[in-house]
Every structure is written in structure tokens, then in C-alpha cells.
Amino acid sequence: MSIVSNLLLLTLLGVLLNVIFYKSEVVQKYISLIIFAILTYLSIVMYPLVGSHFEIPFLIAGQHIGFTITYLNYYFALMITGITLLTVIFSLKFIKGKEGNTHYYTVLFLKTFGMLGVILSSDLLTFFVFWEIMSWSTFALMSTGGEPAHRSAFKYFVFAVTASMILMAGVILSYSLFGSFDFAVIHGKMASLSLPMTGFLLTIFITSFSIESAVFPVHSWLPDGYSNTFTTFTAYLSGISTRIGIYGIILFLFGVFGIQTVDKLGIIGKINFRYVFGIFAALTMIVPTFTALYQHDAKKLIAWHSVGQGGYMLIGLASGSALGIAGGMFHVLNHMAYVVLIVFAIASVEYRTGTTNLNKLGGLIKKMPVSYLALLFGIIGLAGLPPMNGFVSKWFIYRALILGGYPFLAIAAVIGTLGTILSVYKLIHNMFLGQLPERYNDVKEVGFSMQLPMWILMIVVLGLGVYPGLAMGLIAKIQVSLGLAAVPYALHGIKAASGQLDMLVVSAVFIGGIAVTWIIYLLGNRRKHVGQYNNYAGGNFLNKSVAYNFNYEFYAALEHVIDPYRKKIIERTERGIASVTDAVSEYIRRIYTGMINTYGIYVVTAFVVTIIILKELI
């Protein structure tokens, strides 16, 4: 049982070493690389130990700090350590010499420590302790990188503190209701609880996890928070950080409360807790995706998309059927793979050109083909088109929603997908296609250390796309461990008997189609390669000074259609709450008027009021 302690102690060691050597970047770099490599190895090797329990003999309020390995947290541990290793490899060169990167690796280690603790914990108290550490380290991680990062990190912090306070209330309320913090015990005693109290408790837990995983009404912290910090952190955060909230939802919705108790919370007819949660997930899919259309900054666009994709995961879980839940869980892995790939590509563009402003870039395919390929694989995955992995999990979710009889949630998913396709094309078009501006003539492709993670993720994205069975095995085991029906999976899609998805055949036919086209292509004469200025522009002469990309207001027409419906309700409510708190605190502040006479009158009024009140009590 030393694996879990090694994992956590190693991350702490990482934090310590990085704090000691905060002066020299080189030492920090290699320490982090080695430690994260070991961590990834450990989390892979952890598989046979699934099911074992491990405790630190330290008692808080009658509860030991306990850890246990289940299939679910093995799945998430793999993702966390894997992605952190890739981020470290990528940032070896990316972060060199950047201003404000002294504590780059320390914060990364702290965050991993928090996340590993959260997913490995076996009881509510350890869960909450590491949850606090995680939310503080996410705040620290978000505030590296300049002044705007501080403001957006502060906004995240306000949400995170509210989430952890609600979680604390939930943890201790369930402790007082069930008498113990342990998940298994609570799951056992769940039936004894009255219906309204179960509903209240479930809402508390699900709200705090929804804030962390940026569900619709409480998502406004994510876009600024993720895009103002270093781009490698944007990749890391949108890849795995918000998915810990999803882990919490899976754990509590199915592990602790169990699908039976959740389904008992019916409101009217078919509308039950899961349906209401589905509606929030549906809104999370539609609104952020269409806001992404308006963004001019690549990182913000992707951050809005990671909110949108979170909606897909949640709607999968909310559908409740074996297929839907498998789709939701699989989408967590898929999303992590392709969003990190996309943001690595954006990072390499930023590394070379120094900007991620979509209005200023263009034509980089001529200079950075590998990053283009990476972004292409990523956006095909994000849009959910067949050969890549995004499609498989979306197919599961769609099929679960349709067969489960949720037409309007399915409609929301469709609208979300189309919004994704549009904004995703804008990303690759504005950055890599079109005329190459003069100032980027000497841009080169990024070095090997940055290309390696991109190649790995490309293989993962395509591999999972063609052979989804690789991950479906683990997900089926998770479903069984959570007491749900396992999804009938085959190596390349759904088992033939029960469904209609065979990704191998789809990809094979696609390759066949391309081969046929290639033959037709060869029938014609040889192609003549021409430069970018040899272009038809109404007979005008194109040259450096007039090189024009159609980047700005790429979807102007659609924006005219959508604008009347964009009321920015969320921003207005947030400003409202902020001004109310300010007004209340301003009013309360004025109680202390500074006049000693009024203070005296306060004392006497308090005296009289106490007498009146206590007269009834005694």
C-alpha cells in the first residue's frame, strides 16, 4: 500500500525541492521532469492495487486520513499524472526566461498534490482537506503571469471559496446525519435518510462541484481565469483541473448517493433531479459555445469551449443510462486529450509569434506544419468528427439522450456541436490559413521538446478515435464498481449486437475514399505550386503591403442574428451581487459613527433590548 503514500510524498518532495531551488530554472526543470515521470509510472503500475485501503494514523475529529484506490480514481490518476508530465515536457523550453516563472513548477506540484489527494481520498474529510489545498493552489497557479491574471484569479477565488464553504457545510452535515465520514458507510446508510434531506444534501454537494466544473450559471470565472495565465497552464487547467469537479459529481451521484436514491427525487412525472441537472448541462453546452464565436483571443476561445465541453460530460452523466454515463466519462478523457493538444499548438504559435490575437495571425501553415497538424487533429476531435476520439463519446451521449427520450437535451447537444464546428474552424483559419503577414516570415517550427507532447497526444486522439475499446474497458469496470450497468463495448466501438458504431470500418472506408480520390487526382496533370501573392483579387496586384486576411468579425452575419438574444444575464447578476455586498458593507461600516454619545446610546439600547428578549426566555 506504499504506492499512494509514495505518490503524495513524491509530489510534496517536488514542491519542497522547487522551493529550495527557486533561483535556478535548470535544476527546477529536471527535478520536475524526473519526479513527474516517476509519478506517471507509479500511477500506471497502481492497477493491481485497486480496492486496497491506506490510512495515515492522524486523527481529525475522530477520522483517520484515509486513501483507497478504485477504478474511478485510477482512471483520473492516470489522466492527472499523464497530462502533468506532458505539460512539464512542453514547458521545458516554453517557460524558459519568461517573466514570473520562478514558482512555475512549485505551483504545478502543489496543484497535483491537491488533485491526487482529492481523487484518492476514501472519506469526506480527506476529500475536503485536499479539496481546500487544491482550490488554493489553483488560485496560486492562475495568478502567475502578470496583472490581468491577478484579477481573474481573484474572481476564481471568490467562486472557489463559496464552493469549498458549501462543501464544508455538506461534509459536516452528512457527518452529523450519518455519524461517519467514510463513503462506504454513508452509502450504506443512505436509505435511512428522509427524502427532502437527501435532496438538500445532494444539492449542496452537486452545487459545490458544479461551481468547480463551471456549469452554466457559475461558469463566468473560467474563461478569464484560464486564459490570462501562461498558455501551458491554460492547457493544464482546461485539460484536467475542471474535471475534478466532474470526478466529484460522478463519485457522489453514483458512488455515494447511488443511482437509485437519486432517481427517487422525482418532481413531476419524468422531471427528476437528473433531468434538472441535464437542463443546466444543456445550457452549459449552448451558451459558452456561441460566446466562443465572439472571441478574438485563441486562449479565451478555447477556454469558452472547455466550459461547453464540460456540458457534454455532465449531460452524459445526467442521462443516467449505461451508454450515456460511459459516454460522459469517456468524454472526460477525450476532451483532455484534444484540448491539451489544441492549446499546445496555440502555445507553440505564441512561443514563435508572441501573440495569440486571432486578428493579427495568419498563414502560419507555411512555417509551422507540425503545429498545424496538431491543431487540425485537435479541432477535428473537439468538433467531434469521425476519425477522432471526440466523435465516439459524443455518439454515445447522443444515442443515450435519444433512446432515453430526452429530445430537447439532444437538441441542445446538436446546437452545441454546430457552434463548436464554427468557432473551431475560425481558430484554425485565423491562425494557420490565409495570407502570411510579412512580420512572421522568419518564424520556424518549434523544437523537439515541444513537438513530442503534440505527437503523443495526436496518436492518443487518433488511437482512441479508431479503437475506443482501449479506454472503454476501464470505463466499463468503473461502471460496474459504481453499481451501474456496464456498457456493451468492443475494441472499435459498440458490440455489433446492440448498436451501430464500428469506428474501424468508418475509418477504413474513409481511407478507402481518400485512396480512390487520390487515383482520380493522379489522372489529371501535375499540379503547379504558386505563392500566396499569385492570387485572383479582381485583377489587382497582391503584394506585401496589401496582404489581407479575412479574420476580423469572421462570423459577422451570425453575430447579427444572435446579438438580440445575448442579454449578458450572467455578468449583470454578478455585478448586482457585488454591488449589494458593497452597499451592505458600506451601510454596516457607517454604524461606527465616531460620536462617543451614539456609542453610549448603543450600550443602553443593547441593555434594554437584552432585558426585553431575556424576559421571554426565562
Binding site: 461600516r589 457607517r590 461606527y592 459613527t593 465616531g594 460620536m595 462617543i596 454619545n597 453610549g600 446610546i601 443602553v604
Partner: protein, 121 residues
């Protein structure tokens, strides 16, 4: 005790009156020195109340000056000891208050509490 005018009720009402009067002065007067006077008034009121607790009708002062005086004829001495300390404390606090008010006057040039409102909110 003939009628309502027993000694203890008189003393109690007197002390209550004094306390209320003293506090009224502290709350309404703007001038700091008047407030200190008000505090003293309230203090004396409390002392009166304290002394009155020890009163036993018909007994005399608890001093063993005359020979044949028995303890049972004496008034309870404990509250008087308390009042002594209380008066000393009251005196100390008022002296300190006035000293501070003088230094405050040197600094702010006024005794009016509505003007001395540097620290508020």
C-alpha cells in the same frame, strides 16, 4: 418601616436617579468634560446603591469605639469596604480621563465630541 418611605427604597431610588441622570448627561452633552462629570455622577449613584445594601435599620457604624457595642448592633461593614475601593477606582479613572482630555484638547483644539470624529467608519 412605616409606609413606603423606608430608608432602603429611598436610597435605591436615589441611586437609580443618579445613575440615570449621569448616563443622560454622558449621552446628550457634546462637551467632553461634562461627560466626565456625568460619569462621576453615575459612579456616585452606584456607590450609593452599594452602600445601601449594607444598611440594617437601627444599627450603628461598625467602629469599635465604644466599649459595650456588640457586633449585632453594627451595620454590615463589607459593602463599605467595597465602596471605598470603588470610590478610589472612580477617582483614578476620572483623573486619567481629564489628563487624556487635556492632551486631546492640545492636539485637536476643541472639546466638542461632534468635531473630534477623526476615527469613524
Amino acid at each position: 418601616m412605616n409606609g413606603i418611605l423606608s430608608v432602603s427604597t429611598v436610597l435605591n431610588t436615589a441611586s437609580a436617579g443618579l445613575i440615570v441622570l449621569g448616563l443622560y448627561i454622558v449621552f446628550t452633552q457634546k462637551n467632553l468634560i461634562k461627560m466626565v462629570i456625568g460619569l462621576d455622577l453615575a459612579d456616585t449613584g452606584v456607590n450609593v446603591l452599594l452602600v445601601s445594601t449594607g444598611y440594617i435599620k437601627g444599627n450603628t457604624a461598625p467602629i469599635f469605639s465604644k466599649a459595650g457595642l456588640q457586633v449585632s448592633q453594627m451595620v454590615d461593614p463589607v459593602p463599605q469596604a467595597l465602596v471605598l475601593t470603588s470610590i478610589v477606582i472612580g477617582f483614578g479613572v476620572s483623573a486619567l480621563a481629564l489628563a487624556l482630555i487635556i492632551r486631546l484638547y492640545q492636539k485637536t483644539g476643541t472639546l466638542d465630541t461632534s468635531k473630534i470624529r477623526g476615527l469613524k467608519w
